[in-house]
């Protein structure tokens, strides 16, 4: 029983972070029709920057209890790096997908060395600050309260994102642009601005995800390339461009990984890819995706 709760909690925590990155990927794909391989780099960037920001804040005498909001703010702030990157991506929106994959792959490579240059090659950790919130007892399993906070934050972001897209005026314009860019422009929408906005928000989702995961783990050079394939798995399982798909996909991947780690460690990633292949065979468009192009 405790083992099951353990798997579910661990899986949900992982899923909460994965969802944020995958949601960024989905948002960008949905609107810009662009598959962003650099999403993993944003995630790693958020993680590294989160460590630096929290370290600085603590040094300036901030009470450790406030480190959670600092992390979120740090993630949001560094997410602005999406703006200049979008300027470059803008040159190739109307080109073949292969170019977009390659261009974001180029960014991924560049970011790898930016991290190495600024933060060094050895993994960086954030001591045990995240334990300031203590631990909670969930059905007989002790988990750091921080992990529950991250899950809650991720749910809040999901709700906020849903509200933004479905209920606000800007959200409607974003969806209209996603549906038909030329038509939206014909109606007076400034699509370039919408694209810049969407890409930056997508980027922020990734950086916040990275910032949230780092206190209980470490920031390393491998995390970018590893997360890319995981969030790809999420997106493929859930269906490209679907937010609901991102939630379900993230839960499947997160729980699947947690379960395999406790049952059969060798199957950790293998099981995830097996699900991906299975889904693609049975439902090529993913669980919530629209029909394939």
């Amino acid at each position: 029983m405790t083992e099951l709760v353990d798997v579910i909690l661990g899986g949900t925590f992982h899923a909460a972070v994965l969802f944020l990155v995958a949601a960024g990927l989905q948002l960008v794909f949905g609107v810009q029709k662009l598959v962003n391989l650099a999403c993993g780099s944003f995630y790693a960037l958020g993680a590294y920057f989160g460590i630096t920001a929290v370290g600085l804040a603590l040094k300036l005498g901030l009470p450790p209890l406030l480190f959670f909001p600092v992390l979120i703010l740090a993630g949001l702030a560094i997410g602005l790096v999406g703006l200049p990157i979008e300027r470059v991506l803008r040159t190739i929106y109307r080109r073949d997908e292969s170019y977009q994959l390659l261009l974001t792959f180029g960014f991924l490579l560049m970011f790898q060395d930016v991290f190495r240059y600024i933060w060094g090659a050895t993994p960086r950790t954030m001591d045990n600050v995240y334990l300031v919130y203590g631990t909670a007892n969930v059905l007989g399993v002790r988990v750091p309260t921080y992990n529950l906070l991250v899950i809650a934050a991720s749910i809040a972001i999901a709700v906020g994102l849903g509200y933004f897209l479905e209920r606000t005026k800007t959200g409607r314009i974003v969806r209209a642009t996603a549906e038909n860019r030329d038509m939206a422009e014909g109606l007076g929408v400034n699509a370039s601005k919408i694209f810049a906005l969407v890409f930056t928000v997508g980027c922020m989702l990734g950086t916040v995800g990275g910032a949230l995961v780092v206190p209980s783990g470490a920031a390393s050079l491998d995390m970018a390339v590893e997360l890319v394939v995981e969030s790809f798995a999420v997106v493929v399982i859930g269906g490209l461009g679907s937010m609901r798909g991102a939630i379900v996909g993230a839960l499947i991947v997160g729980l699947m990984r947690a379960a395999s780690i406790s049952l059969m460690p060798e199957m950790e990633m293998l099981s995830v890819y097996l699900v991906v292949v299975l889904v693609l065979i049975v439902r090529p468009a993913g669980l919530f995706g629209k029909a394939t192009a």
Binding site: R94, E97, E268, L270, A293
Partner: protein, 334 residues
Amino acid sequence: MPSVDIASPAVPRAMPRVSGLWVLLALLAIMALLPFVASPYVLLLMLPFMGYGIALLGFNLLFGTTGLLSFGHAMFLGIGAYTAAALTSKFGVKSFELLLLAAALGSGLVSIVTGLLCVRYTRIFFGMLTLAFGMLFHSFLFKFYAVTGGDQGMRVLRPLLLGMEWRGGKTAFLTGPFYYYSLVLFALLGLAMWRITQSPFGLHLKAIRENAGKAAYVGVQIFRMRLAAFVISAVYGGIGGTILAVTTGLADPELAYWTHSGNLVFMAVLGGSGTFAGPAIGALVFVLLQDFVMSLTQYWRFVMGGVLVLLVVFLPQGLSGAVSLLFNRRNGGR
């Protein structure tokens, strides 16, 4: 901005028709003379180039000719490398011909199974499914320590060439007999690939790339043709991977990692995937450039990534596109 298709040459062909085969053969002829002038270091660099060059010839049948972008092609290089490793160090099979045969068969068989699933899709879905299969294979290599040696990889012992044992140091073997052996292999596979692209089969593939629907109407069997292209490209990948593994003496999981697949696409676009010899030349430039940048700075990924970004934005047709552009401009353009 006009829509540019990555797979087709958008630059008008004002150049006198230099066929891709001659470009490739000229390159190989230069390489045949290279051992007389170049240092062993340069020759050792040429070996990975030959491995990648062969793999890229196959990759471009899928990408440039058929228009399918695989982001998991490194899997086949991995299969070739691990076949060589397992046969030489676990089963005592030393004949290089047998290794090549086994690598070709192994990657061919795997590609039939994965291809049956993958080629039902095109565009980004094809890319993602091939990526998933590639990572499936990578995590198998990485996690099943007892079978594959995990992250340590597996050693590849020196094979016999044409049934003969070669004495001497590792460098002497690699830059001498193995160099020429690979070169001949490269030339033969290049000729074969040229025949394939010029055959009715190759024309079918091009028709599928240009317009799959229309091709189907005139009777092209899209699914079978795509599958055949996938399998052929996998066999080339397996052979290329075997050469790489013998060169480094090691088969490790990184060979099958998705970033390695990304590098293959990088090479193809660098040389120009719309041409026959372009991707092989891209492999050469990539190998040389990477070696050069690595000797200058430890931040070589940044430079390579930057090159890729500039390439995609400003020179989408790759180096061959640049050459034809230059040529056209000198002739007053068109």
